[in-house]
């Protein structure tokens, strides 16, 4: 099996890239990746990226934070060492919990926010020292790059399609 060839289609305008990607999709050609200086709305559906589930992760981390706070305040204030502080009820959690709302809320937000941020960094593999994967350094400035991996026999057809859709540069690696 011959090696796949990598093609970079570079655009100056994100709308042209989206149109080009749509045409490629209708010809059953898969776009491997798109590099852009800012998020292009609508590109996910066109190149077949599934919806991110990171918000669901945040929700789960938040529930963890709430549970942690409830467990902590119950253990410390009701179970281990209940004390009479200004006559506030301390022997049953259900009587004392309104006072613990601020701490519970803060821990929920803390766990949700940091858990989600860490998940994002790890899933996208963004850590100090990691090498960037954009093939052209101008893609963080003003160029939009479509990366395709194609069989050598399809190469010229795809290059023509890219040029027809408005790509300013087409590079075959």
């Amino acid at each position: 099996m011959a090696d796949l060839k990598t093609i970079h289609g570079i655009y100056d305008d994100e709308e042209l890239l989206v149109e080009g990607a749509k045409k490629l999709r209708s010809s059953h050609i898969k776009v491997k990746d798109v590099f852009s200086p800012f998020p292009i709305h609508g590109i996910d559906d066109v190149i077949g990226l599934p919806r991110t589930r990171i918000a669901i992760c945040a929700f789960i981390y938040g529930i963890t934070g709430t549970s942690l706070a409830i467990l902590m305040t119950w253990y410390m204030m009701v179970s281990d060492w209940p004390t009479d502080i200004g006559g506030k009820p301390s022997f049953w959690y259900y009587m004392n919990w309104p006072a613990f709302i601020p701490v519970t809320f803060e821990l929920t937000v803390f766990c949700a926010g940091h858990g989600m941020a860490l998940t994002f960094l790890l899933r996208s593999w963004l850590l100090p020292g990691v090498n960037p994967k954009n093939p052209d350094p101008r893609t963080t400035d003003d160029k939009f790059l479509m990366l395709l991996e194609v069989k050598p026999e399809d190469e010229s057809k795809i290059v023509t399609m890219l040029r027809a859709s408005g790509a300013t540069e087409v590079n075959v690696i």
Binding site: E15, D33, V34, F35, S36, P37, F38, P39, H41, I43, D44, I47, L49, T52, I54, A55, A58, M72, T73, M76, M77, D80, W81, T83, I85, G86, K88, A99, F100, P102, V103, F105, E106, L107, V109, F110, A112, G113, H114, M116, A117, F120, L121, S124, W125, L126, L127, P128, G129, V130, N131, P132, K133, N134, P137, R138, T139, T140, D141, D142
Partner: protein
């Protein structure tokens, strides 16, 4: 593509392309600082070092070096703590709340506002950690197993709620700010790469965490920003409400009122936007960013200052009314003392600065004049400092028992620490302005086509041409 109504003022002036946006925002990072930057930086660093020395002196010798006494247990320390935290709230409001309200004008100002939040909360943390008296035992503020039978914290107390609230606020704001910076660091890194400067490219490569701008990463990034905004919004309201509860849950007359949480939150947004205005008015001129931080942006901020200033003014009037209407003689005296007692000058200073000055922004001439905005934003910040001083010191120095009544005077040590935090704030902000992109450049590019001056004009001309055809 997003369409914007043609009657809206453009948010990016001039004929700018994506590349020019990158160049304009990267310029302060790539070029050398001018002599004014060095001048202000030197002054700030000197103030910072002076404050740090006063702080070291306090920790080494004791809180007795301050002017606080048994009657006035909290004075400049907590005034400054609440002042700084309040200032920090504008950054989160701009990033989070304005994002949820889809206000695109936030994009030019959110990065520097968020940086301001983090530096302000760090300054607040200086006060709250050193006012404990034995700061080396500050780890006791966090729940941990210990040798005192495992003595736990009192979770009923707002002082404990504060520990959780401020820690969460500082860390979440830091994360929100830094995640937003990642794509922009990527852009700066690639510019240095293209310009053939390997050391700078390496530094920003590490700072950018290897950002590549892949579609997948962008969609996750947008979702994370949205969720963090959704989390930060209730967070910012809760943090200052919890800070206000430090006072509201007590029995001190003048403190024990239910109006405090919304009053403090409005006051925080008020002072925060004033500080952002002060900083941005200077920054946009010095870094030549007037095309991005336009007069319209400054006007929007002035409008928010008027709105929140009015809320604060209404709160003052309600407090005054209730102090009489309640029939509680202690509450009545607390306000009579504020207006006519020995600290009357701070009370009237507060009233003039906070009630009168934001109302001036009703006049379009005032809210679009850069000089007026600069002067008034500083006046508002001074007024808000006096508000916290009035609330804390005038209520404490004369409460229930006249035999305990006494005066409070700050010592040079306390004043020094405050000056030091101002120096620290400006030192950090000046360094930020030179090494970090002060505008969210990737975000700003998303609104170039919909809100840029030239695309809007071209679209309007095309629509006019089509209308005349029919």
């Amino acid at each position: 593509m997003q369409h914007e109504a043609s009657i809206r003022e453009p948010l990016i002036l001039g004929d700018r392309s994506y590349h020019e946006i990158t160049t304009d925002i990267a310029r302060p990072i790539e070029s050398k600082a001018n002599k004014y930057w060095y001048l202000v930086f030197t002054i700030s660093v000197c103030a910072f070092i002076w404050g740090f020395s006063c702080l070291a002196y306090t920790i080494g010798t004791g809180i007795g070096q301050w002017g606080a006494n048994k009657t006035v247990g909290w004075a400049w320390d907590i005034t400054n703590f609440v002042w700084w935290i309040g200032i920090g709230h504008a950054g989160t409001l701009i990033s989070a709340v304005l994002l949820l309200f889809r206000q695109k004008w936030r994009m030019a100002i959110n990065r520097s506002a968020e940086a301001m939040t983090i530096f302000a909360v760090l300054c607040a943390a200086v006060f709250v950690t050193c006012h404990t008296g034995r700061p080396w035992l500050d780890y006791w503020l966090f729940p941990h197993a210990n040798q005192f039978g495992s003595l736990w914290l009192n979770f009923n107390s707002p002082l404990t709620w504060d520990v959780f609230a401020v820690s969460t606020y500082l860390t979440i704001s830091l994360v929100f700010w830094y995640l937003g910076l990642i794509p922009d660091f990527g852009a700066i890194r690639d510019r240095f790469k293209v310009q053939g400067k390997p050391l700078q490219a390496k530094i920003y490569k590490v700072l950018s965490f290897g950002w590549s701008g892949r579609a997948r990463d962008w969609s996750r990034f947008e979702e994370v920003s949205l969720v963090l905004a959704g989390l930060s919004t209730p967070l910012v309201f809760s943090v200052h409400s919890i800070v206000s509860m430090d006072f509201a849950t007590s029995i001190v007359p003048g403190w024990h009122t239910t109006i405090f949480p919304p009053y403090f939150v409005a006051g925080a947004v008020f002072s925060g936007f004033a500080m952002v205005s002060t900083l941005l008015l200077i920054m946009r001129k010095v870094l030549s960013l007037e095309h991005y931080v336009t007069i319209q942006h400054m006007e929007m901020m002035s409008i928010i200052i008027t709105l929140t200033g009015s809320m604060v003014g209404v709160a003052y009037l309600s407090e005054l009314f209730i102090s009489w209407y309640s029939g509680v003689e202690y509450e009545g005296y607390a306000f009579l003392n504020r207006a006519t007692g020995p600290y009357w000058w701070s009370y009237w200073g507060m009233m003039t600065c906070n009630v009168i000055s934001p109302q001036l922004f009703w006049f379009k001439k005032v809210r679009t004049s850069l000089l007026a905005m600069f002067v008034l934003s500083i006046v508002v910040n001074i007024g808000m400092w006096f508000e916290r001083f009035v609330i804390i010191v005038t209520s404490l120095h004369r409460d229930y028992l006249p035999s305990s009544w006494t005066m409070y005077h700050p010592t040079w040590v306390e004043i020094g620490i405050f000056i030091g935090t101002i120096g620290m704030f400006f030192t950090f902000f000046l360094l930020f302005a030179r090494a970090f992109p002060v505008i969210a450049l990737s975000e700003l590019k998303t609104i170039l086509k919909s809100s840029g001056e030239v695309p809007k004009r071209l679209r309007a001309e095309k629509e006019a041409a089509e209308n005349t055809k029919h």
